[in-house]
């Protein structure tokens, strides 16, 4: 039902006296079976929107589209045109780069039998790590007397479906991996996430290194699908991701604050400690000398949690 709701039926009332209702019905479901996936190792997205998880923000998109048009013969018969008069095109739109580019088009009766991926060359200049939309559209591709009489001139879109990739609202502040827990893994099967502190981070000034040298956050691969699905629920506003990010961030930052030997310099933005202090100082308005105390005020870490929630905008 959701797929049908987002389709656009743009055909105007016919000017030759013929009823457009049959065509409307055909166009209403013509693209319903189209599917897309943002990366080769991902399954088809359920619905039209995929929200990038924090790990994927800096990963180049390699989308696949399964382009299926239902009722082609019915459609061309009712419109009185041949397959060459209509085409199916895939376009890409980037709001942040202000681009609306054609990627590929086919005659409506010569669509690829297999899922199709755009050439990396055609997407290179659009790999911004931000939101992007792929638009599949059936359009008039040739001037035809019959179509002109129906008010369908060249270029007119009959029906389209949009697939959107949305950026995660808050990008990760830590390296992140999906991992199989249980089995031979040192982590229990039921665990949702764990922090793997790197060996090189045992020394005293371990927090005075860039975060990717200090730790990796591991998240249970079994939860990937659920988290991704929850991220795709528009009304949920990425709450699942934000809650997970807030929980992990609280653990890491409280460890830093509880164990740090010496507070970082205020111009230090490269190291884990520098970033933790900078974020918290900015969010709380407190000087660096008071930041360390956030970890030992009480067991609940309520103030630290509130600041992290503010930084990650957990509650809109």
């Amino acid at each position: 039902m959701r797929a049908r709701r987002r389709e656009r039926r743009l055909i105007p009332p016919f000017g030759d006296g013929s009823s457009p209702h049959g065509i409307f019905r055909l166009l209403g479901s013509a693209l319903a079976k189209c599917r897309f996936a943002p990366f080769p190792n991902r399954g088809w997205v359920d619905g039209e929107t995929y929200t990038l998880n924090p790990l994927e923000v800096n990963t180049p998109l390699e989308p696949r589209l399964d382009i299926v048009v239902d009722g082609i013969e019915d459609l061309t018969d009712r419109l009185g045109v041949s397959g060459g008069d209509l085409s199916v095109g895939v376009s890409v739109r980037s709001r942040h780069l202000k681009r609306y580019d054609a990627l590929e088009q086919w005659r409506i009766d010569a669509l690829p039998a297999e899922p199709w991926s755009p050439s990396p060359n055609k997407l290179g200049h659009l790999q911004s790590g931000r939101g992007i939309d792929f638009i599949v559209a059936i359009r008039v591709s040739r001037n035809s007397t019959r179509l002109a009489r129906l008010g369908l001139e060249l270029g007119k879109v009959l029906c389209r479906r949009e697939f959107s990739i949305r950026e995660s609202v808050d990008t990760s502040t830590f390296p992140f991996e999906w991992v199989e827990f249980g089995g031979d893994s040192e982590y229990p099967r039921e665990l949702l996430w764990a922090i793997r502190w790197n060996d090189s981070a045992d020394d005293e000034d371990r927090f005075s290194r860039p975060v990717h040298e200090v730790l990796t956050v591991l998240v249970n691969k079994r939860a990937e699908r659920s988290l991704t699905d929850m991220g795709a629920v528009r009304s949920a506003g990425d709450l699942a991701w934000k809650m997970l990010a807030a929980e992990i961030t609280t653990q890491i930052w409280s460890d830093v604050l509880a164990n740090i030997e010496e507070e970082p310099n205020e111009d230090d933005t490269e190291t884990l400690a520098g970033q933790v202090f900078a974020h918290l100082s900015r969010a709380s308005g407190k000087p660096y000398a008071e930041i360390e105390g956030l970890a030992d005020q009480d067991d609940s870490l309520a103030e630290l949690r509130a600041l992290i929630a503010k930084i990650l905008r957990v509650v809109a």
Binding site: N58, D101, S128, R130, G155, E266
Partner: protein, 251 residues
Amino acid sequence: MRGKTLTNEVARLAVTERRQGRAYKVLDSSVGNVGEGEFWDESKAERAAVKLRALKSGLPEVGKILKGNIFDKDACRIVHETLALPPNLAASEGFWRWLAVEKFGDIIEFRNGDLSGSGPPAHLANYGIDTRAEYNRLAILWFRADMAYDGDSDDPYHLAARLSSTDFWESGVIRPRYGWCRNLARELVRFQYRDPYSSTVKNYLHLTNENGIRELYKRLRRLHSTVSFEYMSDEEIRDMLEEKSSDLRRS
């Protein structure tokens, strides 16, 4: 590639303090990052700023609006060519804000403040503060060059460099979605500014009359909801622009 970013709060504080004549330095701890890997080479911004200052000092003594338009036609090329931005930075509002505040503050004030220096300062939106990147003056210049870029020409910036009104670029090309179709953006420039060598701003359709080019923007916006411009040839777009504007008021 990684780039520096500024939040609205930090950018606002920096601009406000500097306007009071204080030598305000943004702390490194207040500067954020976008992207990953190597940092974008900041010397590109410094080189662009030097070129823009030279351009500014060589402008003719003409009225404020014309002076701004003359500046923009060459400034957009300098910004686009010299900064050579990767897509992830060009798409970042925070990066544009950092560039405007930290590297091009004098240029923003020159272009959007009172050009004589005695009037009101530039609006904070011209730095991209509390607004989208498309209101950031530097981003406007970059998008102008990017959207009218003609890769098939010996001079890919020849369309962006036509002497033209910034209102045309902002309201007619950069903000509306139809303008994001690069083929339409290029043809719209050719349509509205027909003389590539004009030394005055020669609008084909009237720029401010309600039956001038503003009406064409509305028609294109409506048409774009049912027509995919991105698949049309240059010739088809030219024909469409002529047809949709045949009854509109010319300058």
